[in-house]
C-alpha cells in the first residue's frame, strides 16, 4: 500500500525567507504525487503534481517540488515566503483514491 509521511507538523518562517516542507513517500511502483494547500475555512487546492515526467515540478504561487526516487522524497519549496502562504499543506499520493499525509501547518511571520 502507498503512504506519505510529512516530517514536520509545523513550520515557521519569516516573510521573504525560503520555505521547505518535507514529504517522504512509500510506494511499490512509480507514484503520482501531489501537494495540496488548505487555507483557513477553505477547501483543498492543488499546488502541483508529479506524474513521472519531469522530476522538478513547478506549481502555482511560486512553489515547486522535486521528486527524488533514491530518497523517496517529494519536498515542497518556495524561494521566498509571503504572508499569504500561511496555510496547511498536504502531501498526497494517488492510488486511484488520494492518500493524504498528516499535513504541515506553515506560519509566516512579518
Amino acid at each position: 500500500a502507498q503512504s506519505v509521511t510529512q516530517l514536520d507538523s509545523h513550520v515557521s518562517v519569516s516573510e521573504g525567507t525560503p520555505v521547505l516542507l518535507r514529504c517522504n513517500y512509500s510506494s511499490s511502483y512509480s507514484p503520482s504525487l501531489f501537494w495540496y494547500v488548505q487555507h483557513p475555512n477553505k477547501g483543498l487546492q492543488l499546488l502541483l503534481k508529479y506524474t513521472s515526467a519531469a522530476t522538478l515540478v513547478k506549481g502555482i504561487n511560486g512553489f515547486e517540488a522535486e521528486f527524488k526516487k533514491s530518497e523517496t522524497s517529494f519536498h515542497l519549496t518556495k524561494p521566498s515566503a509571503h504572508m499569504s502562504d500561511a496555510a496547511e499543506y498536504f502531501c498526497v499520493v494517488s492510488e486511484y483514491k488520494l492518500i493524504f499525509g498528516t499535513g504541515t501547518r506553515l506560519q509566516v511571520f512579518p
Binding site: 503520482s32 477547501g43 483543498l44 492543488l46 498536504f90 483514491k97
Partner: protein, 116 residues
C-alpha cells in the same frame, strides 16, 4: 472556471438523525469522491463513485453511509444515523477520469458537520 460546490457549508444535527450532504461536481467529470477530515486529523478517503455505482470504499464507509447521484448534477452523501464521531469536515471531489496517472481531483469547499 468550473468548480465543485457543496451545500450546506455547515450542518448541525442531533445524534441519531439522518443527514444528507450535497455536492455538485464539475459538469463533464465522471468520477466522484467523498473525503472527510476530523478536526486536527488528516483527510481520509471515504468512497469513490463511477457510472452510478461505488467503485471503491474505505473501512470508514460502513452501512450507515450511502452515496447517490439522484440526477445529472448532484452527488449526495447520506449518513443514516449520525454519531458524535461523525463530526468532521466532509469534502466532495470530482475528476475527469481515474487511475494512477494523476487525473486531478477538484475539491469543493467542504461541509462542516457537527453532531451534538
Amino acid at each position: 472556471e468550473p468548480e465543485v460546490t457543496q451545500t450546506p457549508s455547515h450542518q448541525v444535527t442531533q445524534m441519531g438523525q439522518e443527514v444528507i450532504l450535497r455536492c455538485v461536481p464539475i459538469s463533464n467529470h465522471l468520477y466522484f469522491y467523498w473525503y472527510r477530515q476530523i478536526l486536527g486529523q488528516k483527510v481520509e478517503f471515504l468512497v469513490s463513485f463511477y457510472n452510478n455505482e461505488i467503485s471503491e470504499k474505505s473501512e470508514i464507509f460502513d452501512d450507515q453511509f450511502s452515496v447517490e447521484r439522484p440526477d445529472g448534477s448532484n452527488f449526495t452523501l447520506k449518513i443514516r444515523s449520525t454519531k458524535l464521531e461523525d463530526s468532521a469536515m466532509y469534502f466532495c471531489a470530482s475528476s475527469e477520469a481515474s487511475g494512477r496517472e494523476s487525473y486531478e481531483q477538484y475539491f469543493g469547499p467542504g461541509t462542516r458537520l457537527t453532531v451534538t
